[in-house]
């Protein structure tokens, strides 16, 4: 296989099997990780480290919240599982739903509907349309899809799906995001799992083909790689695989049992948790059978993240408490963990605030020797990175997805204002309008970059102020003693500033992003599905 082929997006792929050796090596890493956390904890919780008790408690909560989330992920990987392929029964009645909304480009549907028509397992494709444009009807008919005009329904995608559910006869529904191009073997790969009558839905990996377009697109894609590989495989091992993002295939009976597809900003996860609560089983199979679009410009990425962060809060505050008693143990933990993911906005904000608090008020939360912190923390970091890299062998396309995902990290840090806004909206239960994820790049410097610029300006201003005061107003009796602390804090503050500057770069780059319609370049005839199990 040539190198070029390794990175070819238009080729069926699947994650590798989990061997006993893999599990053994992984278990060793986890045990070492736990011991290093114990060692760190033994060092962390010491009275001599407390400088200001409330702030020490706050800092401890921050650090240990992060560590506990990491432990959960580690436990999750312990059961990492790849399901055995099951061939599809013949003669199932299958529908594919894809939705169109005003403003979405017609040419994209031309491609998606054509790709749906190419899917080999017999099925009917439905276009759920509220554009009120005749061209959409035409394009549906051109590719043999049934055109359903569904206008004025609540909840955008889910509302139309529910209306259509009542109109169709089929027993299985694949809900296809319109920006995703399915491979011909899509249904062959997933329908077999429905032989088990308890399986309510089958989720596949979500992958992309427009990463090359920009820094933002690369970073946004990087943020999803581990989730649609090892993370969901682990959840599957605990019978907790969630329906999330695009391209989930549902048993219609299952959807009907919960009164239809969930509605809300996180409609997939709402549907997923309700199905699990009703006792339906789920399957995650780590295969690449479609590729879609990831936001290309910083603004669209932020909009998407705002929508998700607000939506997940709804799940956390509404769905999880109601359904908690009906979920299995690990389902409870995983829905709690997933729906609280965007607390990262709050925690990042607090991490950023700590050094500024010190510079402006002199409050320092912990009295720790920086060197000791590194010496005690380093084993955890080494093992955490080892685990992160080790589980990458189960990415669905390791050749293209493997790495440290530093762009993803930059974007994650640089979107702290967005997450924080999502957090706040969630706390006060305020609405944000439904914003469809932009399918095409939007030009201009995103307003989401303004808080980042403010962050950098504050940093530079504070630096100037500190230098000035150390040259003139700070007492001589304090200068030398505080030198290490002051510059150590600046180093700490600079880490986030550096990442945020990366975010500003992404926003600047987005400004000059030429308009493009990436789907036009996709040649459906070149999609390879050869290592089929049929």
């Amino acid at each position: 296989m040539s190198k070029k082929n390794d990175k070819d997006f238009w080729k069926y792929r699947e994650a590798r099997k989990v061997t006993k050796t893999d599990r053994f090596i992984y278990l060793v890493l986890v045990i070492a990780g736990f011991l290093s956390i114990l060692r760190f904890g033994d060092w962390w919780f010491r009275a001599e480290h407390v400088e200001s008790l409330p702030f020490f408690i706050l800092l401890s909560l921050l650090i240990w919240y992060g560590i506990i989330r990491m432990i959960l992920i580690w436990i999750n990987y312990l059961r990492i599982k790849k399901p055995e392929f099951v061939a599809a029964e013949k003669g199932l009645k299958v529908a594919i739903f894809t939705t169109s909304s005003p403003g979405e480009p017609l040419s994209m549907f031309d491609k998606t509907l054509k790709a749906c028509a190419n899917i080999t397992y017999p099925h009917t494709t439905y276009l759920l349309d509220d554009t009120q444009k005749p061209e959409f009807k035409k394009v549906a008919e051109k590719h043999g899809a049934v055109w359903l005009e569904l206008v004025g329904l609540p909840g955008a995608k889910a509302g139309k799906v529910n209306a259509a559910l009542k109109m169709v006869e089929e027993d299985f529904i694949l809900i296809m995001d319109p920006d995703h191009i399915p491979f011909p073997n899509f249904l062959d790969k997933v329908l077999g799992y429905f032989r088990d009558k308890k399986v309510g839905f089958v989720q596949v990996a979500q992958t992309y083909y427009n990463q090359y377009r920009s820094f933002t697109a690369k970073g946004a894609a990087e943020q999803t790689y581990t989730f649609y590989g090892p993370t969901l495989m682990g959840l599957a091992g605990y019978d907790s695989a969630v329906a999330i993002g695009a391209n989930c295939t549902f048993r219609k009976e299952a959807l009907e049992s919960i009164g239809g597809h969930g509605i809300g900003l996180a409609e997939d996860l709402i549907t997923s948790i309700r199905l699990h609560a009703k006792g339906w089983k789920s399957v995650f199979t780590p295969i690449v059978v479609s590729r879609g679009l990831v936001p290309e410009d910083f603004g669209s990425f932020c909009k998407q993240q705002l929508k998700w962060s607000r939506g997940l809060f709804e799940v956390l505050f509404t769905e999880v408490p109601q359904l908690f008693k009906n979920l299995s143990g690990w389902q409870r933990i995983s829905y709690l963990a997933i729906s609280s993911y965007y607390f990262v906005g709050l925690t990042t904000f607090l991490y950023i605030a700590i050094p500024f608090l010190y510079f402006w008020t002199g409050i320092i939360p912990a009295n720790m020797n920086f060197g000791e912190f590194i010496i005690n923390g380093a084993p955890i970091i080494v093992i955490a990175v080892s685990i992160y890299l080790f589980v990458q062998k189960w990415l669905s396309h390791p050749q293209a997805e493997r790495g440290f995902h530093w762009r993803g990290m930059i974007l994650k840090t640089a979107t702290w204002p967005v997450f924080l806004l999502g957090n706040l909206l969630g706390f006060v239960n305020a609405e944000i309008p439904y914003i469809p994820t932009a399918k095409k790049a939007v030009s201009g410097l995103s307003p989401y970059s303004r808080p980042l610029i403010l962050h950098v300006v504050l940093f530079i201003g504070t630096l100037a102020y500190v230098i000035y005061s150390r040259l003139s107003t700070v007492s001589e009796g304090l200068l030398a003693l505080t030198s290490e602390q002051v510059w150590g804090m600046f180093a700490f503050a600079f880490v986030s500033v550096f990442l945020v500057i990366g975010g500003i770069f992404a926003a600047l780059e987005s400004r000059n992003l030429p308009e493009d319609e990436p789907w036009r370049k996709v040649d459906l005839d070149k999609i390879k599905t050869e290592n089929d199990h049929q």
């Binding site: 599990r23 278990l27 060793v28 070492a32 011991l35 060197g371 084993p379 007492s475 030398a480 290490e484």
Partner: protein, 380 residues
């Protein structure tokens, strides 16, 4: 059955290897704790140096300028060994956070204090190494560091240093020092001191003749052990090429047997004693005048023919007139005690080392006493 045996074996095997990795880490950590810690400590002091060289050098110094007269002493060991003036100094318990307390007291006393004292114990922790950060700060402020170096031997991880287990490491601890058990610590401390490269007063094992106070006292050691340990350390510093230490031998004068603890003229540069009046704060104490706690012993102390220091000078206010105590003491010094060459104020506002309650020795908040001190000092 077979399945569960397999699972147990699997888990135990993984557990074993996981523990192994951590042991390796810890071992690595311990073996390299010197270099690693060294690295971070050096990094810290490099930051201080860089800031000094590139930023703070732009700033006009105030205190060190006022103390310029002191440079001829602090840069010349000989002048410290035969001082021609009386130096003032201070210990302030807030020093780890800030020296501002000292600076503000100096403002009210209208004088600058040449010595700044700190106390540091032996042990493995980073705070028990040579206090480079504070020594540098003190020097930069124009003063000379005066370090009371306390050989607590219970703060070492004996196993790590290849020492056999000992129920009470302080028992006969001074002999262990002479046997070389603590060379790893002494050598590191000495070489840090050498790197510091400025004169430092070192008061090792003070009040070694008080059987009730410190573990290096007579309850654990014989007088000849103390002398041997002192000589061992001074010699070792010499062998390592450390020339910037001024050794202060500091007995407790109230326990008369101190002559037998004297390590010898070649090993001692100064003699120091404490002079603290506790007033009637405790059952065992009463209001003693300076004459009673220092003057009565002066002739004994003078017989060593070394410069004398009062390493802790102060009075509480319970049971007498504090400001008068200071006036009487300071006014008597110039004529009555010609060998007394240094007085270090004990400015501890939270002393809980002696009693269960906290004692306040500081002058900062007692304007009557600080005025009295200022008046006496200005009359010298």
């Amino acid at each position: 059955m077979k399945k569960s045996a397999y699972r147990i074996g699997f888990t135990l095997g993984a557990l074993f290897l996981g523990v192994l990795i951590i042991v390796a880490f810890t071992f690595l950590g311990k073996k390299s704790s010197g270099p690693l810690e060294d690295f971070f400590t050096k990094m810290g002091s490099t930051i201080v140096d860089i800031e000094n060289d590139y930023l703070l050098s732009q700033r006009e110094p105030v205190r060190s300028k006022e103390l310029e007269w002191f440079n001829k002493y602090r840069n010349n060991k000989e002048s410290f060994l035969q001082p021609d003036t009386v130096f003032l100094g201070i210990f302030d318990n807030n020093y780890q956070k800030s020296f501002e307390n000292i600076l503000s007291l100096e403002n009210s006393l209208l004088t600058n204090l040449s010595f700044i004292q700190i106390y540091t114990a032996w042990g493995d922790q980073s705070g028990q190494r040579f206090p480079e950060k504070y020594a540098k700060t003190i020097f930069k402020l124009g003063s000379t560091p005066f370090i009371t170096w306390e050989p607590w031997l219970n703060d070492f991880d004996r196993e790590e240093h290849g020492l056999s287990p000992k129920e009470d490491p302080n028992k006969n601890g001074l002999q262990d020092i002479v046997n070389g058990d603590y060379d790893f610590y002494i050598d590191e401390w000495a070489s840090d001191l050498k790197d510091f490269n400025q004169l430092v007063f070192i008061r090792f094992g003070h009040e070694m003749n008080d059987p009730y106070r410190y573990p290096w006292g007579p309850q654990n050691n014989k007088p000849e052990d103390f002398i041997a340990a002192w000589q061992y350390i001074v010699n070792r510093f010499g062998e390592l090429g450390v020339n910037n230490a001024v050794w202060v031998w500091s007995p407790h004068p109230a326990y008369y047997l101190y002559g037998e603890y004297y390590p010898g003229d070649e090993y001692v540069d100064w003699v120091g004693v404490g002079a603290l009046n506790y007033g009637n704060v405790a059952l065992w104490s009463q209001w003693w005048s300076f004459e009673e706690i220092f003057g009565n012993y002066y002739n004994w102390l003078a017989s060593f023919n070394k410069p004398l220091a009062i390493t802790e000078f102060g009075s509480l206010s319970v049971g007498g007139q504090r400001e008068e105590w200071y006036t009487e003491a300071l006014d008597s010094i110039p004529e009555k005690y010609p060998l007394l060459k240094a007085i270090l104020f004990f400015n501890n506002d939270k002393d809980n080392t002696t009693l269960s309650k906290t004692l306040d020795w500081s002058l900062n908040t007692d304007s009557l006493s600080s005025k009295a001190v200022k008046k006496s000092l200005n009359s010298w």
